[in-house]
Amino acid sequence: MQERREKTESQINTDLLSAMLDNHLWFWIVLAGLGLVILAGAAAAGYMFDRGLGVTGLNRPVFWGFFITNFVFWVGISHAGVMLSAILRLAQAEWRRPATRAAEVLTIFSLATALIFPLLHTGRPWRVFYWVGLPILPYDLSRGIFQNVRSALLWDPSAIFTYLTSSTLFVFIALVPDLAVARDRTTGWRRALYATLALGFRGNARQWRLQAIAGILLSALILPVFVSVHSIVSWDFAAAVSVEGWHQTIFAPYFVIGAVHSGVSGVVTAMILMAWLFKWQDYIRPEHFDALGRLLIVVATAWFYFFFIEFSFGLFSQEPSEIALRQTQVFGQPWGWMYLTFIMASYFIPVPLWMFRRVRRSLVLMFWTTILVNIGMWLERFLIIVPSLMRKQGLTFVWGDYNPSPIEVLLVAASFAVVLGGVLLFSKIFPLIPIYDAKEGKYIEAEIQVGRRTVPAVIREE
């Protein structure tokens, strides 16, 4: 890459282990703050379990509101991991190196957070025990029936469980070489912990070759899972015939590309925070954001294409109920200004900005534009779910509004704290940038002389 830094292996180890091994005051302050938000969320959840779901804004006909919006949002963010890690690994893109682990870790924590919301939504989450033994234990022992395989709500846990398990194991396998470095650099209980987790990794040729193959093979296996997860989440909506705007065949790829859009934006935000907080500007450089910005332009444009089709085909059959829904979403209040905010924030503000190299290489601008994207994408999910439910049936006396309660707002805020806190805690125990990846990048960099110009090059195995 153009902006290479000359570092020895020792220096790379020191730099990338510093977040784990050194103590920074800001870390504990931020963690404490996030902890307070999480505690507040836990208190809100406890209050809700005690008093019932009536303390939320959910009521006939809007039975899905903030919780499900947030569920879909976090499943979406989780798609960044595979996008950046798997696809860029398969494409041999050098600029993936500092991004992969952060993306994978964000996947794990956002998926785990997403799973909390259906549990909260049950109102009595302890009853999940009766469902969890799929398919071993009968649901609700007094009735003795099994889970309904034909229900979309059963496909969700199977997909999310598969994705979560796969991503976690993928992170672990790729962590093993770095755990060996941590083992060699620490003492006491830390050394014992890392030595156990490193499984005795020594770095012989066989182990490295299998690491390389593992990366590619697991990437190829996880990619289909990644596509299936958000497709299945989308079918929670698309399978419903009675709700206008939901029963569309485009929902699966539309949700997936939207997930990639919000997920990659989320990773960019996380990487910028990593560069600032951990002082990793030598490893997370403007050229990485330049490449990520270009990727985001493609992804965002693909997302917009699917959005355009989804909206247009809502009007295709010219059914009055469908047209009424679209009018409500675009021109009704407060939905109209939300719709405008969503479309501007998701596409029409960030993408024209990203067309400029100077913007892509500016960490500050990339930070704010990617946050804007995720605000827009959160609103997108909200606008798919709530307006459609408000006007679900043709009988006007069951039309209703949705006003989210402070409990729901607090729980949504707590979810952000859980994810950020989780990633922060991870950074204290494991390296967030793959150490061996950074070193490998050093081994395969080269230069070519073309006239008076020295051109950066990479060494390729063939």
Binding site: M1, L90, A91, E94, P224, V227, S231, W235, A238, A239, V241, H247, Q248, T249, I250, F251, A252, P253, T301, Y305, F306, I309, E310, S312, F313, L315, F316, S317, Q318, Y443, E445, A446, E447, I448, Q449, V450, R453, V455, P456, A457, V458, I459, R460, E461, E462
Partner: protein
């Protein structure tokens, strides 16, 4: 002096892992590509003859069909429409391969970019085939379509405009990319060749500004072409298939059509690469190119199933009268055979028998055979969709659902000849293009020789690829 940061010096050892393609100079590239271009071999004449014969047969069949059935009824032209849709999915989309790979800065595109862009010439034939179709399309008043509140002839006008613009954009990409080669070639040719090389090559001298403008033009046109092609496919597939079948409200279909367009583009480029490589240019159309496209073909073939499944599944789950009618008509009933052909040859056979296996994917023959099978699958797909659409009785177009059980529009001899003529015509145009443009982009190969080196890397050889961007 060239250096590699990890180069070993003065080691006497047995070096392994010699790359298949060693280092070569710009002069070698120049001479080899020009030599092939000057005399491709007798195969070209034979292929041109066969393609031409098919084209003539197709024209004869067209005249017979036009005189016997006219253009009032869509049914007799169903297979013709499927043939056009097949062309839009394959040769009409093929320049996208070069555009997309150039955008992603993949070095390995260089051996195939010209072969892919040359399909813009075949797209001219696609436009010719398109001419009768708007006359058969009903107006959009009072029936479902994307043209809500537009005038009744909106699809006729705008579909045509989009198609023409997309083809022109593809031609522009081809011609602009060929300028430096033509400027070099014009000095070595005489007669009419020299004349049109001079027109296109112009006063090209190879100054720094000219190269910068060339790159900028390729970038801008590439982006425009990409967006226009996708949008054209969206509109054409909606108007000529989706909107004609009652109850087929399928928002994923245009995206599915675009995906099969990408799949077809990859397949047809692979086939062109395979046949050109058999007669020479192995250094430039090498394993790298086949492997690269094979991976993309695998991805698109898997996505084929994903997009199809997304559409099918929502219809199956919904079970409304309209949805059941469409499933019965297009999958279980009248068009079961082409559906099975489509799913088998677009997805199942190429993926599980060829592309999923590493040794086959990383070969020359394997991807080429898979690509041929995919082309067959695309033809079945287009037959299923467009024959089904054009066979809907006139009075039923615009209804909320399919009424009754509709029969299959099976092809007769004229339909077969029409399809063969369409295939032959597009091949004919492509073969003619191969005599006008060098099959491999000479200036891109010369550029590549500056950026690709083969160097010892301790006890092995490795390819060192420059990344100037």
């Amino acid at each position: 002096m060239e250096t590699t940061s990890s180069e070993s010096n003065g080691h006497n050892g047995h070096h392994r892992h010699m790359p298949e393609i060693g280092e070569y100079t710009a002069q070698v590239a120049n001479e080899e590509i020009r030599a092939w271009f000057g005399a491709p071999g007798s195969w070209h004449g034979k292929a041109l003859f066969v393609a031409g014969a098919l084209l003539v047969a197709g024209i004869v069949a067209f005249v017979i069909r036009a005189s016997s059935d006219g253009f009032d009824e869509r049914g007799p032209w169903a297979y013709y429409a499927a043939g056009f849709a097949f062309l839009l999915t394959t040769v009409g989309s093929a320049p996208l391969v070069s555009v997309a790979l150039r955008m992603s800065k993949a070095h390995w595109r260089r051996g195939l970019s010209r072969l892919s862009e040359l399909f813009a010439i075949s797209s001219i034939f696609m436009l010719i085939v398109y001419i009768p179709l708007p006359f058969m399309l009903p107006v959009v008043d009072d029936r479902p379509s994307l043209w809500i509140n537009w005038h009744g002839h909106a699809p006729h006008i705008y579909d045509s405009m989009l198609l023409v613009t997309t083809v022109l954009c593809g031609l522009a990409i081809l011609l602009i990319g060929a300028r430096p080669d033509f400027a070099a070639l014009k000095h070595e040719t005489k007669g009419i060749r020299r004349w049109y090389y001079s027109i296109i090559g112009g006063n090209w001298k190879g100054t720094k500004k000219e190269w910068q403008r060339l790159r900028a033009a390729q970038g801008v046109l590439g982006g425009l072409y990409f967006m226009m092609l996708i949008f054209t496919q969206l509109i054409v597939s909606s108007d000529y298939a989706l909107a004609l079948i009652p109850g087929w409200k399928d928002s994923i279909y245009p995206a599915f059509y675009s995906l099969t367009g990408l799949q077809g583009a990859l397949a047809v480029t692979l086939i062109a690469m395979f046949w050109v490589r058999r007669t020479g240019l192995q250094r430039y159309i090498s394993l790298d190119q086949f492997w690269g496209l094979a991976k993309l073909l695998l991805a698109t073939s898997l996505l084929w199933f994903y997009f199809w499944w997304s559409g099918f599944f929502v219809f199956w789950y919904g079970r409304s009268v309209a949805e059941v009618g469409v499933l019965e008509y297009m999958i279980k009933g009248a068009y079961l055979a082409p559906f099975l052909g489509a799913i088998a040859f677009s997805f199942f056979v190429p993926c599980f028998f060829f592309l999923i296996w590493n040794p086959i994917r990383k070969s020359i023959r394997g991807p080429a055979i898979a690509a041929t099978i995919v082309m067959l699958g695309i033809m079945f797909s287009r037959v299923r969709e467009y024959v089904a659409a054009f066979s809907i009785p006139k009075g039923m177009v615009g209804s909320t659902h399919i009424e009754g059980i509709l029969g299959t529009n099976t092809p007769d001899a004229i339909d077969i000849l029409l399809l063969l003529g369409i295939l032959g015509g597009s091949a004919f145009f492509y073969l003619v293009a191969l005599r006008i443009f060098p099959a491999v982009n000479i200036w891109e190969q010369r550029e590549f020789t500056l950026l690709r080196k083969v160097r010892p890397y301790f006890k092995r050889y490795a390819v060192v690829l420059g990344k100037p961007d």
